[in-house]
């Protein structure tokens, strides 16, 4: 059973590549700078955010531009990826109605496209870090661990949202609001220290906070995050992926009636 699924996956790998290429082409259609925007826009945003917030949080956060960029990098990826995956089946309706392609591929391609965009924005992240003098440390090579975990988490959550979003278009609007709330409860532009000690456990329920702080520990603070943090992060990713796959599988047979 599993072997058959893997064969199927391998069969559609060229398709996945083509669709991602297509999506990139469409995203930057007729834009002069094209993919460069995935590096430029976080930089420009960083300048604005740094001007506004670094005066407020200056004493608490060293290397504020890197602090924000690193957090935003993962956060934006998860938000865009899940949102894209939620709508992926609807957007590819004309294809799904004419060809036999496993529906989950559209979720994966959408998330992967945003994943690649995020990899691009690692370039300005490290450039800024070098410029503002974040010291080099060997842990920096481990940043791919939280990034991969966030990728798995995004696919899982994206498939879950897609399974329901295809039937109920309202989910789009609801999720939009939810995303805004999520942004404020995740310490991206503010330090976790401003939250009173006894409320901090609530932040650990937020998978994004965990991925981001692991990322920051590796890339900026040059230290190993606590074991508990790493285990919880892995647990969140795998659990979300399973949830996504199970929900998606249950719903996907009826997709074609709603697209």
């Amino acid at each position: 059973m599993l072997g058959k699924k893997i064969d199927e996956f391998m069969y559609y790998v060229p398709f996945l590549k083509e669709v991602i290429k297509r999506d990139f082409k469409k995203k930057y259609y007729k834009s002069v700078l094209g993919v460069a925007w995935s590096m430029l826009s976080p930089l420009l945003m960083m300048i604005v955010i740094t001007i506004i917030f670094s005066t407020i949080f200056k004493r608490n956060i060293p290397y504020y531009p890197s602090y924000w960029l690193g957090g935003n990098l993962l956060f934006a990826f998860v938000m865009d990826g899940t949102n894209g995956a939620m709508n992926s089946v609807i957007h590819n309706a004309s294809l799904i109605k004419k060809m036999k392609i496993p529906n989950y591929f559209f979720c994966i391609s959408s998330v992967t496209q945003h994943f690649i965009t995020m990899l691009f924005s690692l370039v300005p992240y490290f450039l800024v870090s070098i410029i503002i003098g974040v010291p080099f440390n060997p842990y920096m090579f481990l940043i791919f661990f939280p990034i991969i975990l966030a990728y798995i988490f995004t696919i899982g959550l994206g498939m879950f949202l897609c399974a329901y979003g295809t039937f109920l278009r309202d989910l789009n609007y609801l999720y939009n609001i939810f995303r805004r709330v999520w942004l404020y409860v995740t310490p991206i532009f503010y330090p976790i220290d401003i939250i009173p000690e006894n409320y901090r456990f609530m932040f650990e329920l937020n998978p994004l906070y965990i991925y981001i702080s692991i990322f920051r520990d590796f890339a900026m603070n040059g230290k190993m995050p606590s074991e508990r943090m790493l285990i919880v992060a892995t647990f969140y990713s795998i659990l979300t992926l399973i949830l996504g796959i199970v929900t998606f599988k249950e719903k996907e047979d009826r997709f074609f009636l709603y697209i």
Binding site: P14, F15, E18, V19, I96, K98, K100, L168, R169, F256
Partner: protein
């Protein structure tokens, strides 16, 4: 739970059994490549489409979250042998396209099973999965990839496809600017070049000009000789008779009869004549 009207069952069963008995088309089961067994497909005709949460809850409270059931296919059974050319004939809305989509794996049957051996290239509504904002070049690679072919492989077949579709001048034009005939030509060229075992052609030859139709017909003949199976929908009796040995006559989602293409077409035309006279 699912209520198939008695009428449907009555029509289907004796006919299937009869053609099984005659043995003309079901002589052996060894090289069956498409096996459709008692397939029924139900669509929900939403009375009021619940696209919004509010409406959904309002209707749920009123107890109106319901649909009118529409059976697009009722208890259809069909066996296709390797290398066969089978035509589906019948009026609009008789379930031809639904049957093709079910065989292609795009629609999952509500009841019954479809077993397919080999790969399928579906050409549904002319274009098998084209993206209208991309050029012919990009679409060829995209559709090739849907059939599991890498860019490298498709590059080898690229010139052949463009030459067959006669689109040399328009390779890099987005296909949304193409005429329907051009899209149909490209669709046919790609579908016949991806080395699929089974080709599903839904109304593809309807839009091409006479010259291209002839080209397609000879390509189909060639492929049939090479062992490709073709499932074909057309409203042109002449074409069906020319290309296919067997025809399946569908009406209101039921198989009326399966038999030789000539015979089926004649009887189908007769029934239409009779109906319009009444």
């Amino acid at each position: 739970m699912i209520d198939l009207s008695n009428e449907a069952v009555e029509i289907v069963n004796p006919v299937i059994n009869e053609s099984l008995r005659t043995g003309d088309f079901y002589d052996d089961d060894e090289d069956v490549c498409v096996d459709v067994k008692n397939v029924s497909v139900m669509f929900n005709l939403s009375r009021n489409r619940e696209d919004g949460l509010k409406e959904y809850f309002i209707n749920m409270i009123k107890g109106k979250v319901g649909y009118d059931e529409f059976w697009a296919l009722r208890n259809v059974s069909l066996k296709v042998h390797k290398g066969d050319a089978i035509a589906l004939i019948g009026r609009n809305g008789s379930g031809k396209s639904t049957l093709l989509k079910t065989i292609a794996g795009i629609i999952k049957p509500t009841r019954g099973t479809v077993e397919v051996t080999g790969t399928i290239a579906p050409l549904i509504e002319m274009s098998g999965g084209f993206d209208r904002s991309l050029s012919a070049r990009e679409n060829i690679f995209l559709v090739g990839a849907m059939h599991g072919h890498t860019r490298k492989y498709m590059k080898k077949r690229f010139d052949e496809i463009i030459e067959f579709a006669e689109l040399e001048k328009f390779v890099d034009v987005p296909i949304k600017n193409y005429s329907s005939g051009m899209i149909a030509r490209l669709g046919f060229a790609v579908a016949t070049c991806v080395n699929a075992d089974i080709i599903i052609a839904d109304e593809v030859l309807a839009v091409g000009d006479a010259q291209f139709r002839m080209k397609c017909e000879s390509r189909i003949q060639e492929m049939l000789k090479g062992g490709t199976t073709i499932l074909y929908v057309s409203h042109s009796a002449a074409q069906v008779k020319k290309l296919c040995r067997t025809a399946v006559w569908l009406d209101k989602g039921c198989v009326v009869d399966i038999g030789s293409a000539g015979d089926m077409c004649d009887r189908y035309m007769q029934s239409i004549k009779k109906e319009s006279e009444d």
